[in-house]
């Protein structure tokens, strides 16, 4: 399946954000959610079909204009699934941000036999703020993981400030140098004045200020999705755009 979704957010001139484009094709259906009175606009991606499935080519493009503030979530984890015969699936996410973007989807689960790549390219203009969360889960309960890769490029004012490829599954290394057999791995990138400026580390996670921008990467491994979310969100301290009325499915305490 080939499908595309586009979301464009602009400042409404009264301190809020309006969505000038909310377009999607199944399985990528963006729906406006959240409170009207909030300063930001919120969009949930609703899965209009199973997937991504082997052979799918999915694209999401997000634009956030100057002074606009957009939060994007998904209603549930994505299950990357295999096809017969086996084919590679891709999700390409491109974002151009002048204002503020919080990209906080639920995790992607690598179902046995899947072969999926999520490629993200984020272009931040000077002064833009970003939260970008990526979570990879090695299979559903008690099943071997399929191949899942997240290839991420984030540029700030045209300069690449973060470039990393995360991978889980039979083709990826899972040893003591990379993920140590953890079933859940992920990162949260924070760009802007909220970004932590001091490095900290625990035995399974670290907060690391980046070299060439007011930005920090929080990386963690965990035995399950809930543990990973707690490590990345820092009980929502890190995800300042966290919706206080978020459903329990988002693994938040509040």
């Amino acid at each position: 399946m080939r499908a595309e979704a586009r979301v464009v957010a602009e400042a409404d001139g009264r301190g809020g954000t309006r969505l000038s484009t909310v377009y999607g094709e199944p399985p990528l259906l963006p729906r406006r959610t959240g409170h009207r009175h909030a300063g930001h606009a919120e969009v949930h991606l609703v899965g209009g079909a199973a997937g991504p499935l082997g052979g799918d080519e999915l694209r999401i493009h997000v634009e956030v204009g100057p002074d606009a503030h957009l939060v994007v979530r998904t209603v549930a984890a994505s299950l990357a699934q295999p096809s017969h015969p086996p084919r590679h699936s891709t999700l390409t996410i491109t974002a151009t941000v002048h204002g503020t973007l919080a990209w906080l989807p639920e995790p992607t689960v690598a179902v046995t036999g899947c072969d999926h790549t999520t490629r993200s390219i984020v272009d931040l203009c000077d002064g833009a703020e970003l939260l970008w969360r990526e979570e990879l889960i090695a299979g559903r309960h008690d099943e071997p993981s399929g191949d899942l890769r997240a290839a991420t490029t984030v540029r700030c004012g045209g300069r690449t400030i973060l470039r990393h490829d995360l991978a889980i599954g039979p083709s990826a290394d899972a040893g003591p140098a990379t993920v140590g057999g953890a079933r859940a791995v992920g990162t949260l990138l924070v760009v802007g004045p909220h970004a932590p400026t001091r490095p900290t580390a625990t035995s399974t996670g670290a907060t690391m200020p980046l070299a060439n921008a007011p930005a920090a990467l929080i990386s963690a491994t965990a035995s399950d999705a809930a543990g990973l979310r707690r490590a990345l969100d820092g009980d929502t301290v890190n995800t300042w755009a966290a919706d206080p009325s978020a459903k329990p499915g988002n693994c938040r305490k509040n």
């Binding site: 300069r159 690449t160 990393h164 290394d173 140098a177 990379t178 580390a201 070299a211 060439n212 963690a220």
Partner: protein, 248 residues
């Protein structure tokens, strides 16, 4: 290309401070993730597939930027134009110094851990200082006096008259031997068995080096970027220790 020159640059006894770094092994040992030969093997394989491949790619690309495309030859193919003066001083053909700065930036973007960035620049600085004395034509580049280590390997290789594939080989092989010898010291492992692991990984070094040379001209964002989350986390924890045997 002179084989002896390759050995000089790849030698662990080159006075460039490599022995002071464990490539993340000290942190992995302390965390209990590496404790015997089998876990060390796993560690070396994972490190080589991520940090090792990145180092190989950036060393090759830096060497290519400094030696210019006209000096590349098919892998193991056509006669080497430089073969008549092995290991001697070089004149630099197409010095593309700006590309070297971009490559240095590319490693910053691939190294989230501040501790790993500092360790990489410390090793780069030491290697560049050694290279400048050993091969006096070592060029100065826009990456400055303390480039990241793989960039310094590329610069030193270019100065020594080596080609991108050899630069990549030095980078990836050095990462393996550095980690392996640190593990021998930290865990008291059988040095013969550990070096058997290094020998086992030799074909993988060759493969990564050939691949790095093939892709030495790619845009920086398209070069390998395999991330090893536990190397980052371990390096950050290690940097907070008051007493440690290795700098990183």
């Amino acid at each position: 290309m002179s084989l002896s020159t390759l050995l000089v640059l790849a030698d662990g006894r080159l006075p460039a401070g490599a022995h002071a770094h464990s490539g993340g092994v000290e942190a992995a040992v302390a965390a209990g993730r590496v404790h015997d030969l089998a876990t060390l093997r796993s560690f070396l394989v994972g490190r080589t597939a991520t940090a090792g491949e990145v180092a190989a790619a950036f060393a090759a690309a830096t060497c290519r930027a400094l030696t210019g495309p006209q000096l590349q030859d098919a892998l193991g193919g056509s006669p080497d134009r430089r073969g008549d003066e092995p290991g001697g001083p070089r004149a630099f053909a197409g010095v593309d110094s700006d590309r070297v700065r971009e490559l240095d930036d590319g490693i910053d973007a691939r190294t989230a851990s501040p501790a790993l960035r500092a360790a990489s620049r410390a090793q780069g600085r030491a290697l560049l200082r050694a290279a400048a004395r050993i091969w006096p034509t070592t060029p100065s580049t826009t990456a400055g006096k303390q480039p990241h280590h793989p960039v310094a390997v590329g610069i030193a290789a270019a100065a020594a008259g080596l080609r991108p594939r050899e630069a990549a080989l030095v980078a990836v092989y050095g990462g393996i031997t550095g980690s392996a010898s640190a593990a021998v010291r930290l865990l008291g492992l059988d040095p013969y068995a550990v070096h058997a692991l290094v020998a086992e990984l030799a074909p993988e070094c060759d493969r990564l080096a050939a691949r790095a040379a093939d892709r030495a001209d790619l845009p920086v964002d398209d070069l390998p970027a395999g991330s090893a989350i536990l190397l980052d986390i371990g390096a950050e924890q290690h940097a907070t220790w008051e007493v440690r045997l290795f700098a990183s």
